[in-house]
Symmetry: C2
DNA sequence: CCGCGAACATACCGACCGGTCGGTATGTCG
DNA sequence: CGACATACCGACCGGTCGGTATGTTCGCGG
C-alpha cells in the first residue's frame, strides 16, 4: 500500500474541483487552480481522471448526487406529511446558504445543469437523471400524503412536484443575481404559500 | 462611407455577440467567433466597444432589455385581467421556443444572470434591475386585476409576482437540461394552474 | 482639391489553457 | 533481489484567447 491512501488525493481533487466549478463554472474553472487547492499536481489529476470532462462527470456522480440526497431527498423520503417537510427544507437551506454566503454562487447542481447541458451529453444525462429522481421523490411524498390525508386528493402531484423542483432552481437563481437574501427568502415564502394550498381545506 | 452604414456594423456585432453568448455563455464565447459571424473584424469590434466586458453590457442594455419588454412586459402592460394574459404569454413562448429549438439554450437573460452575476457587478446590476422591473410589471398587473375584480383581493401580489418570474427561470432551465419539450410545457401548465388559483372563486 | 478624423482592416502579442511526457519514489510479488 | 505496478511530480507543448499597434479607406468641411 502506498504511503498515502489513494482515495485521499483523489477525494481532495474531487472536492477542490467541485468548489472551483461551483465558483467559476466548469468551462471557466481552471485545472491548475484545482490542483493548487487540492495540494496536488497536474500529474496526479491526470493519473486519477482521464481529463477535465471525466473530472466533471465524477464531480456530479460523487459529490453533487450525494449532496442532493442529503439536502433534499432524505428529508422527505419517509414522511406522510410532505407539505411541512418541504417547507422546512426550503426554509432551512435558504437560511443556511444565506448565512454561509454560498448562496451568491447559486445551486451547484443547477449551475452545472444550465452551463453544460447543451454542450456535453454526459453532463446532461447525469443531471437530467438527478432532477428526475428529485421530482419523483417529491411526487412520491405528495402521493403518500394523499393516502394519509395530509394532501388534497384532487392535487396533481406530478405537476406540483415539477413546480417545486423548478421553484428551487428559480429561488437559488434569484438569490444569485439579486444578492439579496430578503428577496430569496421572500421567494421561498411564496413557494411555501403554494405548498399550503396543497393541504386539505379542513386542515387549514 | 463604408460599404455598410456604421450603425449597421455595430448592430451586427451586437446581435452576433448576443447569439454567441446565448449559445456558449459569456466567458466561453469567443470574440473571434463574434466578428466572424458579424462579417466584421477585431478592429471594428474594438472600435465600437471598449472590450469584451463593455460588449457584454451593451448586449444586455440594447438586445436583452428590449427582448424582455416585447416578450413579457408589453403583453401585460395595460391589462385588467392579468391571469389569462400571463398564461397566454407562457403558453405562447414555450410553444415558440419549442418550435424554434432555441429552448435547448435556455433563456438568454437568465443565462447571463446566472453566469455573470457573481463575477461582474456591471452585469449583475443591469440584470438585477431588469428582473426587478419584470417583477414590478407582474405585480402591477395583478394589482390592477384586484381593482378590476379579476384577481382575488386577498392575494399577495408581490409574492405572486416573485413566484411567476422565478418560475419562468425554472421552466426555461428545466427545458435546457431535460431537452424535453413535454416536460417544459408540463412545467408551464403547473404554473398556469397556480395562476388560476389567483382568480376569485366566483370566476372559476 | 486637400487634409483630417471616423470607420474599419491586418498583423501580431503575451497570457493562460488543457493536456502530455519523461522521470521518480514507493510499494508489491515471485 | 529483480521485475513490475501504482501514485505522483513538474517542465513543457500546441493552441486559443482577449487585446493592441499600425495601416488603409473614405466621407466631408474648408
Amino acid at each position: 500500500m502506498p504511503a498515502t491512501a489513494p482515495t485521499t488525493t483523489r477525494d481532495a481533487l474531487l472536492h477542490a474541483a467541485f468548489a472551483e466549478f461551483f465558483r467559476h463554472g466548469f468551462q471557466a474553472g481552471s485545472l491548475s487552480a484545482v490542483v493548487g487547492a487540492a495540494g496536488a499536481t497536474k500529474g496526479a489529476l491526470f493519473h486519477h481522471f482521464a481529463g477535465k470532462q471525466a473530472l466533471g462527470h465524477a464531480v456530479v456522480d460523487e459529490v453533487v448526487a450525494p449532496l442532493l440526497a442529503t439536502r433534499w431527498l432524505d428529508p422527505i423520503a419517509d414522511t406522510d406529511d410532505p407539505v411541512p417537510a418541504l417547507q422546512a427544507s426550503f426554509r432551512r437551506w435558504i437560511a443556511e446558504d444565506a448565512g454561509s454566503g454560498h448562496w451568491v454562487h447559486g445551486c451547484p447542481m443547477n449551475n452545472l445543469a444550465q452551463e453544460m447541458s447543451p454542450l456535453d451529453e454526459g453532463f446532461r444525462t447525469r443531471l437530467d437523471a438527478l432532477y428526475a429522481r428529485w421530482r419523483a421523490a417529491v411526487a412520491d411524498a405528495l402521493a403518500r400524503g394523499q393516502r394519509a390525508g395530509s394532501v388534497r386528493a384532487d392535487a396533481d402531484v406530478r405537476a406540483a412536484a415539477t413546480l417545486v423542483v423548478l421553484a428551487q432552481q428559480g429561488i437559488w437563481g434569484t438569490g444569485k443575481y439579486s444578492q439579496d437574501p430578503t428577496l430569496m427568502s421572500q421567494a421561498g415564502e411564496a413557494l411555501c404559500a403554494y405548498l399550503d394550498a396543497l393541504r386539505p381545506t379542513t386542515a387549514r
